[in-house]
Symmetry: D2
C-alpha cells in the first residue's frame, strides 16, 4: 500500500462512502477530508451531509456548488455534439463525473492532500471516469479505490463494519436498486432489472410519471435556442441550470425521457439500466429540430459523426483529453448557426417538436414547392443527375463491353 497522509474522498453521504472514511483511516493511517459535489442530485441527499461526514470520521467536509457550471460547461457543450450513447442514453452519469473529479482534485490541491479516493465499484464505468480525470489533472496524487481493495462485498458487510465502529448510519439493509442522480438525470440499476426478460416495475422509475398515468391533456413548451444552447423557455430567459430544472418538471409530469436499456460498459461487460432524463430529452429534441432547419446535408451528417464519436469519449471518461477538446471545438463551430425557436408538445411519454423556425433556416417555402423561383431551376437537375451518376454509367458500360 502506498504511503499517504491526507486523502480527499468524493463523499456522497451514502453507505459506501460512509464506510470508506473509517476504512481509509484504519488502512492508510491518514486524515480523510470529505468532498461533496452538488451537481443537482437534490436537497434530500445533501441535508446534514457535513455532520454525517464528521460523524463518520472525516476531519472536514467541503461542499462545492457545481450545478450551473455542470450544465453550462459540460452538458451544453455535449448537447451540441448530439452525443447519445448506443442510440439511446443521454449520458447523464457520464457528464457529471469529470466535473466532480475536477473539483475534487482542486480541493485536494487546496488542502494539501496527497491522495484522492472514490467509492465506485470495480465493475463500473465511474471508476474509469474518476481515475481518467485524476490522471489528466493531477497524476502525482495517489488514487485509492476501496472497492477494488477491501473484502467487504455486501450491504450487510458494510453495515456491520459501521456498527462495529459505532458510526451512525441511516442506510437500510434492504436497498434493492442502485441509483445515481444529478440535475440532468437519475439512473436505476439492479433488482428486477438484472434479468433482461423482466419488465421494469414502478420502483425502477423515480422522477417521471408513468406515461399511462400522465395527464390526458398535452402541454407545450417553447424553447429559444442560440448558437446551440437553450437560452429561454416559455418566453423567459433562463440560466442553463434553471432551464433544465424547469424542463425537468414539465417533462417528468408527462412521463417524458424514460429509457430502459442494456448498454456496453467500458470495462467489457453489459449492464441494464433505467434512465430518466425528462428535461434533457426535451432539450435534445429542440436542438436537433433547429439543426434540421439550419445544417446542410454534409454538415448534418458530420454532426452525427461527431455525436457518435463524442458519445464514446464522454461515456468512456475521456473528457479531459485533447481529443475530446477537438471534438467539442468541431461541434461548437457547427453550432454557430444553430439558433431558432421550437415548440415541443409533451404527451404521454413523448416530446414532439410541432413548430420550428430560424433566421438561419435553409428551408424556404419558395424553393421547396413546385413553382418557379430564382434560386432553383428544374433544368439544373438534369446536369446534376448526369454527373452524379456518371461513375455508375461508365461502370455499366464497361460491364456491357466485357460481356460482348
Amino acid at each position: 500500500m502506498s504511503k499517504v497522509t491526507k486523502v480527499v474522498l468524493a463523499y456522497s453521504g451514502g453507505l459506501d462512502t460512509s464506510a470508506i472514511i473509517p476504512w481509509l483511516k484504519e488502512n492508510y493511517d491518514c486524515e480523510v477530508v470529505a468532498f461533496v459535489a452538488d451537481v443537482g442530485q437534490g436537497a434530500a441527499e445533501l441535508e446534514g451531509i457535513e455532520e454525517k461526514a464528521i460523524a463518520s470520521g472525516a476531519s472536514s467536509c467541503y461542499i462545492a456548488d457545481l450545478k450551473e457550471e455542470m450544465v453550462a460547461d459540460y452538458i451544453y457543450p455535449s448537447l451540441k455534439t448530439g452525443a447519445i450513447y448506443e442510440g439511446k442514453y443521454l449520458l447523464g452519469t457520464s457528464m457529471a463525473r469529470p466535473i466532480i473529479a475536477k473539483a475534487q482534485v482542486e480541493c485536494a490541491l487546496a488542502v494539501g492532500a496527497d491522495a484522492v479516493c472514490h467509492g465506485c465499484t470495480g465493475k463500473g464505468n465511474d471508476q474509469v471516469r474518476f481515475e481518467g480525470a485524476y490522471a489528466a489533472l493531477a497524476p502525482q496524487l495517489t488514487v485509492i479505490a476501496p472497492w477494488r481493495e477491501w473484502d467487504l462485498r455486501s450491504r450487510e458487510a458494510l453495515l456491520d463494519y459501521l456498527a462495529e465502529r459505532d458510526i451512525p448510519c441511516t442506510a437500510s439493509l434492504e436497498k434493492i436498486y442502485s441509483r445515481d442522480a444529478n440535475a440532468w438525470h437519475i439512473s436505476t440499476e439492479g433488482g428486477v432489472l438484472e434479468n433482461t426478460w423482466n419488465q421494469s416495475n414502478e420502483l425502477c422509475w423515480v422522477w417521471t410519471k408513468d406515461p399511462e398515468n400522465a395527464p390526458e391533456k398535452a402541454e407545450t413548451v417553447s424553447i429559444l435556442v442560440e448558437k446551440g444552447e437553450v437560452v429561454a423557455v416559455d418566453g423567459e430567459a433562463m440560466s442553463p441550470f434553471n432551464a433544465l430544472t424547469y424542463l425537468n418538471e414539465k417533462g417528468a409530469e408527462h412521463g417524458v425521457g424514460r429509457i430502459d436499456i442494456v448498454e456496453n460498459r467500458l470495462v467489457g461487460i453489459k449492464s441494464r439500466g433505467c434512465y430518466e432524463t425528462p428535461g434533457g430529452t426535451i432539450m435534445n429534441e429542440a436542438l436537433r429540430a433547429v439543426e434540421q432547419l439550419v445544417l446542410d446535408k454534409e454538415s448534418y451528417e458530420f454532426r452525427e459523426t461527431v455525436g457518435l464519436k463524442a458519445s464514446h469519449l464522454i461515456y468512456d471518461g475521456r473528457w479531459f483529453t485533447p481529443l475530446c477538446k477537438s471534438i467539442l471545438a468541431a461541434a461548437d463551430e457547427l453550432a454557430q448557426d444553430v439558433s431558432g425557436e421550437v415548440v415541443v408538445k409533451l404527451y404521454k411519454g413523448q416530446a414532439t417538436v410541432i413548430q420550428k423556425r430560424s433566421m438561419n433556416s435553409l428551408y424556404s417555402e419558395e424553393f421547396a414547392t413546385f413553382g418557379e423561383d430564382d434560386v432553383y431551376d428544374h433544368s439544373h437537375a438534369g446536369g446534376f443527375i448526369r454527373l452524379y451518376s456518371l461513375a455508375s454509367r461508365i461502370r455499366a458500360l464497361n460491364t456491357q463491353k466485357k460481356q460482348k
Copy 2:
C-alpha cells in the same frame, strides 16, 4: 430531343403520369408502355389501373408484384444497417425507388424499349434515385423526365391538358397534399406543412391514429428476430411482407411511427414532410434491442457508423453501387449474431421494448452484478484503468515538468 420509338413509363395511375402518356406520344412520336409496380401502396391505387393506362393512350400495361421482394431484399438489408436519415427518417420512399426502377428496366428490356420515363419532379430526390438506377442497370436506355422538359406547371394545367385530349381523369383540381405510399410507409408533403412554423393537421396523417385518440390501453407484440431479420410476430412465423403488414396494423392503431421533419434533399434544398412508418418503427426498435444484447461496444459503434453511411447512400439513390453492396455486406456480417426475442409495448404513439432476450446475449446477470464470478475480477479493473489512462498521465507529467 433524342429519337426514341418505345418508352416504358413508371406509371402510377395518378394525374402526372396520366398526362405523361399523351405528352410522350405527341412529343417523342413513340409507343408508350405503362409499367406499374405493386410495392404495397394499396389496392385502391391499383384498381382499374390497366384500363386507365390504356384509356390514356398506353399500348399496354404491365403490373409487377414486388411486395415480398421489396421487404425481403431492400428493406430487411437496410434495417440491418440501422440506417435512419438525419436521425429520424426511416427511408420509406428511398428504399422503394431502386426496386421499382429495376423492375421497370427489366420490363423495358423485355419489351424491346429504347427509353424509360418517370414522373418525378425536378426538385425532388426521386428523379435522382430513378435515374441513378437506370444508369447502373441499363445506361443504353434514353431517360425522359417530363417534369424537367414540359412547361406544365400546375394541376390545373395538367387537367386542362388531359381534357383537351378527352382523356378521362378522376383527379380533382384541389389536391393539397402530395403523398407517396408503399408497404413500409406513407409520406405527406405540401399544404400547411410548407411553413415550418405551422403545426401539422389531421390531413397530414393518413395511416396512423392521432396518439391522443389512440386506445387508452396499451398493447404488446412479441417479435422473433433471426440474424437481423424479423421472422415471427406474436408467435407466428410470417413472411417479411406479412410481418410488416401485421405490425403496420398494430402500430397504426396506437399512433406509432409518426415523424414531422425538415430534411436535406440531395438536390440541395430542404423540404418538410410527415412520414408514417408504424410497422417499420416497431421493427427498428426490436432489432436495436437485440443488438443491445448481442453486439459488443466496438461493434455497436461500427453498426452506428454503417447505419449513418447507409442512410445517405440509400437516400441518395446509390443502391446499385459497389459501395452500397460493401456497406450491406458489412451490416449483414454484423447481423449474424443478432437473434433473439423482444416484446414491444404500443401506447399512445410510442413503441417501447419492455422485454428482450437472446441466446447470443453478452449480458450476464452474473457478470453485471456486484458479487464474485469467474469471468470478471474486480482487481482487473485497476490495471485496465492504469493503462487506459496512461497517455493522459504522461501528458500531465510532461506539462508539470515544463511548468517547473
Copy 3:
C-alpha cells in the same frame, strides 16, 4: 443570357482567359476587368500581364499578392488536418482556388461589378471550386463560365478567334500539356499521360529533378514545428511562404514530391495528373513525425479521420462552408501540442524523417524499455487484457454453451 454590365475575370494571361476578354465584351456587351492573383505561380507568368490584359480589351487589371496569405491561412490550416486526397495528392490546386475566388469577389465588389467569370473548363474541378466560393461569398453576382457556353473547342479555334480580332498572343499552337502552378505545387495533365499504361516522360515534370539524376549525396534539413506550423527551417525563423520556397528548392533538387496518379474528379470522371510538391512533401512528413511523438492513439486515429474528411472538402471546393470551418477547428485544436523539431533527409526522390523530438512527446525511453519504472507496471497489463477481451471471452463461452 443574363444582363451584366461589368465583369471581373480571373485572368491568368494564358490563351484561354485572353480569348475570354473579347468574347465577354462581344457576347455580354459589358466592361471586363482583369483580376490577377499572385499565388506564387512565378515571375514569368506575371511579367507584363497588365499590359497583356489591356491589349486584350480589359478596361483595367488588378494584381493581388496573395502569397503569404495563401500559405498562412489556407495551406497551414489544411496541413494540420493531414488532408491527402485519395492517399497521394497534396491538394495543390484545390487549396489555391478559394483564396483566388475570394480575392476576385472582393475586387468585384470594390469595382462595382455585377458578374464574375473564370476560365475553367466544363469537365474539371476548378469550375466547382470557383463557383462554390462565389455562391458562398457573393451569391448576388452573376457567374459566367465561357467554357460551358461558347463553341470554341480547341487551341486552334482560340488562336483564330484572337487573330481575327488582332489581339496579340504569344501562345503557340502546340501545347501538349496543361499545367497549373502556385507556391505549393505544379500540376501537369494531358499528352502522353492520357493513357494510364503510358509512362510519364521528361516533359511531365517541371520543377523537380528526376530522382535518377538527383545528387548522389543526401542532404538534410531541420524543421521547427510549433502548434502544427513550420516556423523555422535550418535554424532560421521564416514566414510561411519563405519556408515553403526554401523547402521547394531543397526538395526539387533531390527529386522529392513527385506523384503520378489517376484521381476521381468531383464531376464524376477520372483524370490523370503528375503533381510536384517538393516543399509540401517535406512539410507534411515533418508534421506527421511530430504527431507521432505527441498524439495519443485515439487522437492520431481521429486526426486521420479529420484528414480524410478534409481532403474531400478541400478537393470539392467546400472551403467556405460551416462544415469546413468545423473540421479546421477540430484539427487546429489537436495541433496545439504538435510542437517539436525534426530532421529530414533528402535523397533520390525521398524525404525521410531521421531525427525527431518534442517537449510534448508522450514517448519515453524509460516507459518503453523493459526495465522497471514508476508509471508502467507489467502487472497492470493482465487486468487490462482481461477486460479488453472480455466480450470475446463471453461470446466464446456462449457459443460453447450452445454447442452442448
Copy 4:
C-alpha cells in the same frame, strides 16, 4: 496460481521461451509442449528447433507450416482493406499473431492441454494479440504469461537461470536489438532507437539494402491483380507466399520498404521501431494503383475509412471478432472490381507505380480530355454546380438578408 497439468507454449527457440520451459515446469508442475509456428521467419530460426525444445525440457515439439495460410488468409484480406497503422506501419507483426495463436490453440486442444503460454513482455502489444485470440477461440484454457509473473528482468538473469539448470543455450549476453520476423516483415527495436533524436544505424536494418548502397540502375516488376489479390508477378502465376517472397527479394535489393517510426502501442505507451516490408510495400502500392483506376470517389473514400478502422482492429489484436469479420467483408466486396495490371519501378528505396491498366477502369481517355463525347456534356456541369452549391447560396442570401 491456477492448477494446470499440460501447457502448450508458443516456442520460438530464443532465449525467453527457452527459459520459460523450465520455469513453467518448476512453477506450475506441469508438462510443457513446445509449439513452433513457421510463418516465414526463415530457416535459420527453425534449424534444430525441435532438439532445442526437448533439451530445454519440453515433452514434445510441434512445428506448423503456416506460411501460405498466413499470406492467403490474413495478409491478403488485410491488404484489401488498405490498412496502414498510423499512416506508415504495414502491420507485419500484428497480422502474424492471430494465425500463430489459432494454430497454438488447435495444438492445445489436440494434445489435451489445459493451458497456453506465450513469451511476450508485459509492455507490448503481442500479449494482447495472443490473449485476445485465446479468449475468442478457447476461453476455457488457462493463460500463462511468464513475463508478467516472474522476477527475471534481464538477459543476464535469463542466461543465469538456464545455466543453473544446465540447459544449453547459444544466446549471447549482448543482444542490443529486439527483432521479430515473418514472411511479411522484420522489425527492430531497442538500442540506439530508444532515443527518438538518434538516427538509426546499420544494425537497425536487416533485410533491405541501404538506399544509398542500392543499385544505381532502377528495375521494374509487373504485378497482376485479381479481385484485390496479387496473382502473378513478372508474368508468372504465383501462390501468395511465393509472390511475397519474390517481391521481398526484389524490394530488398533496392532498399524498398523501410520505415522508422514512433507508434502508439495499445497498452498506452509509445515505442519506436524500424520495420522492413519490401515485398509488402510493393504489393500495397500495386493494389492502391488498381484502385485508383477502378473505385469511384465515394468508394475510394470508404475504402480509406475501412483501412483506417482495420488498421486499429488488426494492430489491437481484434482479428477474431465479429467487427473484424464485418470490416473484412466490406473490403472484400469493394475489391471485387479491383483487377488489373501494374508496373512498379524500384529505385533507391522507392517503389513507384509507373504504368497501370484495368478492364474495370472508370478512367477513359475519351471522357477526361477536352473534346466532345457521348457520356459527358460540358453543359451538365452548370446544373451540377448550381445544385451542389445551393446550400451555400441560400446561406449567403440569408446572411445578406439579416444584415439589411
